[in-house]
Amino acid sequence: MTSAKTTPAAAAPGPGSAHAGQAAVQAAGLAKSYGSTVALAGLDLHVAAGETVALLGPNGAGKSTTIGLLLGLLNADRGQVRVYGRPPSQAVADGLIGAMLQDAGLMPGVRVGELLTMVRGLYPRPLPLDDLVSLADLESLLRRPAGRLSGGQAQRVRFAAAIAGDPQLLVLDEPTAAMDVQARRNFWAQIRRFAGRGRTVLFATHYLQEADDAADRVVVIAGGRKIADGPPAAIKARFGDRQVRFTLEAGPPALLATLPGVHAVDHDQARVTLHCADTDATVSSLVSSTLRWSGLEVGGPDLETSFLRLLGEQS
């Protein structure tokens, strides 16, 4: 996975890019509420041209609202967002942005090929149809009715529609939600091929692993604010919290916090949850300790818990 990654510096804009060195996305103090529900509470976001950035957060963190604002689908209550130096709706009208929205459908009653030809025609400098077909792996789908595709096929066509105009910035809102593991892997390979042409990619996800695999940089948002921003490895170390659970039969509970790798301990009566980065090390030291325990369980990264902990630390 790491071999395919590019650093922002290495991802020099390709020959087709007219926006080298410019910020792709520049947002400051974005705030948006729906009635009494605060979706965004002052978000700053910077994405350099050529970068692939993940917007990581739990459901309801404000990811879709952020994307809606930078596509011009929503208006901010406060703050400002610029895409390649211009208002979002202008950037959309100029054909600089391609987007794959959550739950966005395809035009009914037409064939995939007809649909993509039409979408290409809306952009000033579209991708050649052959390039588009190979980038999104569509050979077998062009003659199919767009309204009658499987979930994974529809997702490929939606991806193709998003990149049909060869946009400078590709925005994806939880693009892999309906995909199985294999489809997900293929999808991210396609995204990397597209980004490799010097394009900027911003995607929202609530999977830490996906952010780690695909992004140059991860911006973590929760509760409508940015709570972390950094390279995937650093974010993973901070949020890739795993858990070891067991029932403590006998032994001093104070010992638990001293086990290797443990950075937090929760008790629910005798049931103990250890939060740790390296569960192997924790479990092996638990086995060799004087503690008596039963009902051992090891849990994977739990973003929700990590977010809540980090939000708690911040407030």
């Binding site: 011009g72 959309v92 009208a93 929205l101 966005a104 459908g105 395809l106 007809e114 039409m118 025609g121």
Partner: protein
Amino acid sequence: MTGFLTLEMRRCVRDVRYLVIAVAMPIGLYLLFTGLFSAHGQRAQGLPQPTELMVAMIAYGAMWAVFSATGPRIAQERAIGWARQLRVTPLTPASALSGKLITALAAALPAMLLVALTAVISHHIRLGPAQWLALLATMWAAVLPLALLGLAIGYLAGDDIAFPLTMALYFALGALGGLWMPLSVMPHPMQDIARILPSNSLAELGWQIAGGQASAPTAVLVLAAWTAGSGLVAILAYRRRAIRPAS
């Protein structure tokens, strides 16, 4: 824009609901009504009945054509998120709206022509070339407020009710607008209502032209008012609803 428009039109032609209801139904009703009633009876404007019914059914077919190309279709596109996806392409809102409008008007033309053709073949309707041209061109232009009404429904109504709502409106405007039976057989309050409906005004223009007259200021005024009103609602609804999924 041209690509968008041609694809919209291609979709429309493939739509079975359009073909059956907009084309087959007015033709079927024309043949039925002219067969049921005496062909020598006189109806609106003192026109022979086959001519009067031809104009009524041209209006009827055109009305469904523009409704089916707009209301239910747009509501569905909003529900499945296609409207949203289109919003993040460079297609401007003005182009999206006018594309829908032009498609709807284009859809009306075959329905109108086929009813006229049926009338000519089955009842030997004879009008001068200039009269035919004036009749069809005027009625085609007069469908505009109904197309705008369809757009407004498409951007206001949810996917679940857009089709039944459009259907209900189609029947109501047809029956109350005097397309099924002449206004003269209706009670007076209903006649007054009919005269302010766009369906009646559309047919009224046609009857006037078929009868050799060319002045229907009330009908023109009514159509202008419906055009302004529906157009305004359609634009406001588009700005408010196109980007959000139907909920």
